[in-house]
Amino acid sequence: MAEFLQHLINGLMIGGIYALMGIGLTLIFGIMNIVNFSHGEFYMLGAFGVLTLFTMMGIPYLLALLLSAVFFLLFGAVVERGILRPLQNQPVDVAMLATIGLSIFLSNLALIIWDPTPKDIGMPFPLIGINVGPITLTPIRVFIFVAAMLLILGSHMFLRNTRFGKAIRATFQDREAAALMGINTNTVNMVTFSWGTSIAAIAGGLLGPIFQVFPTMGAIVSAKSFAVVIAGGLGNFPGAILAGLLLGVAESLGAGYISSGYRDAIAFILIIVVLIVRPTGILGKARRLG
């Protein structure tokens, strides 16, 4: 039982990060109709951002995370304005190809700047175990989970309660009608993309201290983010959160009880199962009626 709980807790922590990756990707897809293949590279760059600021320059971890988040907010806006907006009247696969190109460019850029050897960010929090009943928590893992949940909650509140958040939802549901309300849908695109980029970078910066950081680390994360988005239902925000948490737990239990060699396969098994059983996603229903 104790072992099971431990796997569950570890799974929820990783799952929180998957959920974070998933909500950004799903919202970018829902709003802009773009399948963003560079999402994993934003994650990778976020980890390198923290490596540079925290490990190499000695800036406190939280501040490094914040600075990197702000930088990638701007970075996302530049990518949207410079690459994606000029392509918005092209067929959807053109923008998709552009994001594939961007992901190749970014991972190679990282290769040039930081070289291919995996690096350790180092532990920003004391390495102690806190025993809660039968399970052991470490401060970094608690921090990762709490931060992921707060970001998800914050994003949800932003979409739910603010004027601009509502404009994003309106654009998501009916782009033309939103424009007729006086909503600048280009601004909505830019904010969505820039927010999704930043949140992926934060995810990288959060998980960085636990794993090693290297230029190609984004690829598998991209693939898993897609798994989360598809399993949750394309464009489905709560679906992505649930699928992300579920994937984390499934991976952790699978690695613990079956074989850790299968850890990365579980995401794809999850997509296959969901596509067979519920092709519209776990919380799926047909979107965009009318």
């Binding site: 404009a167 549901q173 424009a179 909503i183």
Partner: protein, 234 residues
């Protein structure tokens, strides 16, 4: 107030509007009728900035508005209530109305307008916390009208507000539009239901394959033989 001069619009390669000219004076209620595909919706979309004319000019209160984006045109208080209601299905009735007021900063006046909408359509107040997608077709049309009212329109353009509604609801919608006109909003009404449009309005244009085929007083057009044959079925 609104003036289109020799406006040409292309939909891809299709010449959808062929040098059309029309005008609406402040306080008027004008109908634009025509068959399916005649260019009625295209005309509205061009005025509201969703389409841009290839040539010609559109002015509102003597200012050029062709070429502006939809969100800039809404800010001039030229509001387009689109065909097929197009409410935001997963947002509540109240949120839909708030979206209508997206461009407005005057909180107090906005609240006052929401009250006017609720007075006109009490059902919307009753359901204000429900998602718009759960409303019936007629209620969604009322919401779409209410949402346009929230943009504080000086010119309000309706695209087929009677489409797909039961006769009794068509009447409710017509009454609501008349009420808005009475309160001082200038109205451009696009309808396939020519009889409804011509009995409601003072003046009308008849659009046929991208040309203005006829224009005149609505009561004269109701008696016009061509109009009777083509649009009134008698």
């Amino acid at each position: 107030m609104l003036k289109l001069s020799n406006v040409d619009v292309f939909y891809g390669k299709v010449h959808a509007l062929k040098s059309i000219s029309l005008h609406i004076d402040e306080g008027e209620m004008v109908a634009l009728i025509g068959a399916n595909g005649a260019g009625k919706s295209t005309t509205l979309k061009t005025i509201s900035g969703m389409l841009h004319p290839f040539s010609g000019e559109i002015t509102f209160c003597r200012k050029r508005i062709d070429g502006l984006s939809p969100e800039k045109i809404v800010r001039q208080q030229v509001v387009h209530c689109p065909e097929g209601r197009r409410v935001f299905p997963e947002m509540t009735v109240k949120e839909n109305l708030e979206m209508g007021a997206f461009t407005r900063k005057d909180k107090a006046d906005t609240l006052k307008d929401m009250k006017i909408v609720f007075d006109l359509f009490p059902i919307l107040e009753e359901r204000n916390k429900l998602p718009a997608g759960s409303l019936s077709g007629g209620e969604q049309q009322m919401l779409a009208i209410g949402r346009s009212m929230m943009s504080s329109p000086r010119l309000l353009m309706f695209d087929e507000p009677s489409l797909g509604l039961a006769p009794i609801l068509v009447e409710r919608v017509a009454d609501a539009i008349k009420e808005l006109h009475k309160r001082g909003t200038t109205i451009l009404l696009v309808e396939q239901n020519a009889e409804m449009a011509l009995t409601m309005t003072n003046r009308a244009y008849v659009l046929e394959t991208g040309n203005i085929a006829l224009e005149g007083q609505s009561k004269d057009l109701l008696k016009n033989e061509h109009v009777r044959m083509a649009y009134l079925g008698s």
